[in-house]
């Protein structure tokens, strides 16, 4: 006999939507609130900056001027800022385990559910 799902109450439907909303918003905002998010560039401004000292040739100086930046001091932080790509191998392993583990879990549980679907659609449980 085909599986007959229970009817869900209005309160249950609202509860389910709120649960998903809390999870979604939490996933983005918790790292932000904890100050753990993002990879900001770290500027290393030089003293007494000139366009030449900042490595900008004549054409690039014209480009900066066209963008409204005529003072090299104003471009000092933009030009000297760099990302830091150093990382921890243990953090990389944790991430890899999370990604691979997630897909393995989802595919295995999906397959269990899928067999029920196929059995009901094509097999003896067909309605």
């Amino acid at each position: 006999m085909a599986y007959e799902p229970p009817k869900q109450s209005l309160a249950g439907q609202i509860f389910d939507v709120i649960t998903l909303l809390v999870l979604t918003i939490g996933a983005l905002y918790i790292p932000l609130y904890l100050g753990l998010a993002g990879a900001a560039k770290v500027p290393s401004p030089i003293a007494n900056p000139t366009w030449e000292a900042l490595g900008q040739n004549a054409t690039e100086q014209q480009q900066w001027a066209a963008l409204g930046v005529t003072d090299p001091a104003a471009a000092n932080e933009i030009i000297t800022a760099r990302f830091d790509y150093s990382f921890s191998w243990s953090a990389l392993i944790v991430m890899a385990v999370l990604v691979i583990g997630y897909f393995v879990m989802v595919v295995r549980l999906s397959d269990r559910e899928y067999r029920e679907v196929i059995e009901e659609r094509f097999g003896t449980k067909r309605r």
Binding site: A2, V17, K41, W64, A66, F83, M95, Y102, V106, V107
Partner: protein, 465 residues
């Protein structure tokens, strides 16, 4: 309670309209993605330098070509609203489908939020050029999202016809800028000296890192198959529209990199909010400035418009199958649109557009997209194994299988590492979110789902079951 049940049942009687052709599919795909040329891609230059930005552009292009090839074959066969969600439901299983549905909703809703943020930023920039610095961006962000949601509410044909027009204008604006600069319209010459003087400021790791935002050039092209249930001839229109879309984007992306890298110092380009508009400013041509302002505004609106369309279809499909509360699975009796799903997602987009930084929203969108591309690799293999080519007829069969799948998996793995370089916390937080959501679905939500009803394709029983 009875109202909700009858509404859900009513969705079986009131179906979505089949009114779209290949040009609409192209407009949906390119419309969502073209904004990637107008903003966001340039962060890849910031993460690795000028050459790294170009390599990221082409490597990401290869990744999305694989996505388009795989997607075209599966979608031309699984022509149902929800796109990859419907694919997962028929090929991998319900929990995977639930996750894919969430990937789609998150990727598109975050992209929509990013577009709205860019609209506000663009208007602020122009106001600053006019001496009115400090414009309050929030009303424009709210207005953009509300207007496009209303347009989607009123009907898919009007929505995507609107997209077709503004996407074409935005694409023409990129070509016009490229041609004008080539014919000497710029007051400042193109300069690529950084390629030799500062080729790889971060070394090879910078090339890998730049792939993170290189995905932004094309993110969302897979959205073409969301409209599968509203396309007149899915087997023909979806592959044609998708492949034409990726070719359009490859051309536009390369032209964009060329013009912007030549007209701006890479250090500025790597952090610019509206790079193509800035490139037009450097030319000194008022006509080009106006054109690229219009192009940027249209590209962001077209993208947000397509995102609302796609996210609401995914949410609608999941609700119709009771993966989510069935109340959202209703079709509007007059406009024949998934109106409750459209309205419900508006405040979520607003929460992120008004409260989160652009790079975080972009990263959240990219990560959801990346998880979806990873799914496509094993989904394709399972599709061919469960239904070999001689077992069911495909509208399109992609060549060289499994090479595109293998290439896609390698590039996805590289992209995970690229995101990890700097955004590892977000990646881990997101994986935890999807793991918890999966457990919630499997142990709580799935009991409300009818088993056999999930398989709706007129296919034979899969091999091995």
């Amino acid at each position: 309670m009875e109202d909700f049940a009858s509404t859900a049942a009513g969705t079986d009687r009131i179906r979505l309209l089949r009114v779209l052709g290949p040009s609409h599919v192209w407009a949906l795909g390119v419309g969502i993605v073209l904004v990637g040329e107008y903003m966001g891609w340039n962060f890849s230059v910031g993460k690795g330098g000028m050459i790294a930005g170009l390599i990221a552009c082409w490597v990401a292009g290869l990744l999305y070509t694989c996505v388009a090839m795989i997607d075209s074959e599966v979608t031309s066969t699984v022509a149902a609203a929800g796109g990859q969600y419907a694919q997962a439901k028929h090929i991998v299983g319900p929990l995977m489908a639930f996750n894919v549905g969430l990937f789609l909703v998150m990727a598109y809703t975050m992209l929509e939020a990013a577009n709205a943020i860019t609209v506000g930023f663009l208007l602020d920039t122009v106001a600053g050029m006019q001496g009115q610095a400090g414009l309050n961006q929030q009303p424009f962000i709210v207005l953009a999202i509300m207007f496009l949601a209303w347009l989607n509410y009123r009907g898919v044909l009007a929505t995507l016809t609107f997209n077709l027009v503004i996407t074409a204008i935005a694409f023409i604006a990129i070509i016009a800028l490229f041609v004008s600069v080539q014919f000497g319209a710029s007051a400042v010459p193109l300069d690529f000296s950084a390629i030799t003087s500062d080729p790889l400021p971060y070394g090879w790791v910078g090339i890998v890192a730049s792939l993170h935002f290189g995905l932004w050039y094309y993110l969302g092209i897979e959205g073409t198959c969301q409209a599968a249930e509203e396309v007149r001839s899915p087997a023909r229109s979806l592959p044609y529209g998708t492949m034409a879309g990726i070719m359009t984007l490859l051309i536009a992306a390369t032209m964009t990199w060329y013009v912007c890298s030549g007209l701006m110092p890479w250090e500025y380009l790597g952090q610019a909010g509206t790079p193509l508009f800035d490139a037009a400013r450097v030319t000194g041509s008022a006509g080009l400035m106006v054109l690229l302002f219009v192009g940027t505004a249209f590209a962001t609106l077209a993208s947000a418009n397509g995102c609302i369309n796609d996210a609401s279809r995914a949410w609608f499909s999941m609700s119709r199958d009771r993966y989510l509360p069935s109340w959202f699975g209703a079709v509007h009796p007059v406009y024949r649109t998934p109106y409750r799903a459209i309205v419900f997602l508006v405040p979520i987009a607003l929460i992120f557009a008004l409260g989160a930084p652009l790079d975080q929203v972009v990263t959240f969108s990219i990560l959801s997209g990346l998880l979806g591309y990873t799914f496509m690799t094993f989904n394709m293999v399972m599709f061919r194994n469960k239904w070999p080519l001689d077992k069911i007829k495909r509208g399109y069969v992609h060549p060289f299988h499994p090479l595109p799948t293998i290439v896609l998996l390698i590039l996805c793995s590289t992209a995970y590492f690229a995101v990890f370089l700097g955004y590892g916390t977000q990646l881990s937080a997101m994986m935890c979110f999807y793991i918890v959501a999966s457990l919630w679905f499997h142990f709580r939500r799935y009991k409300f789902v009818r088993r056999g009803d999930q398989f709706t394709m007129p296919w034979p029983k899969p091999c091995g079951y």
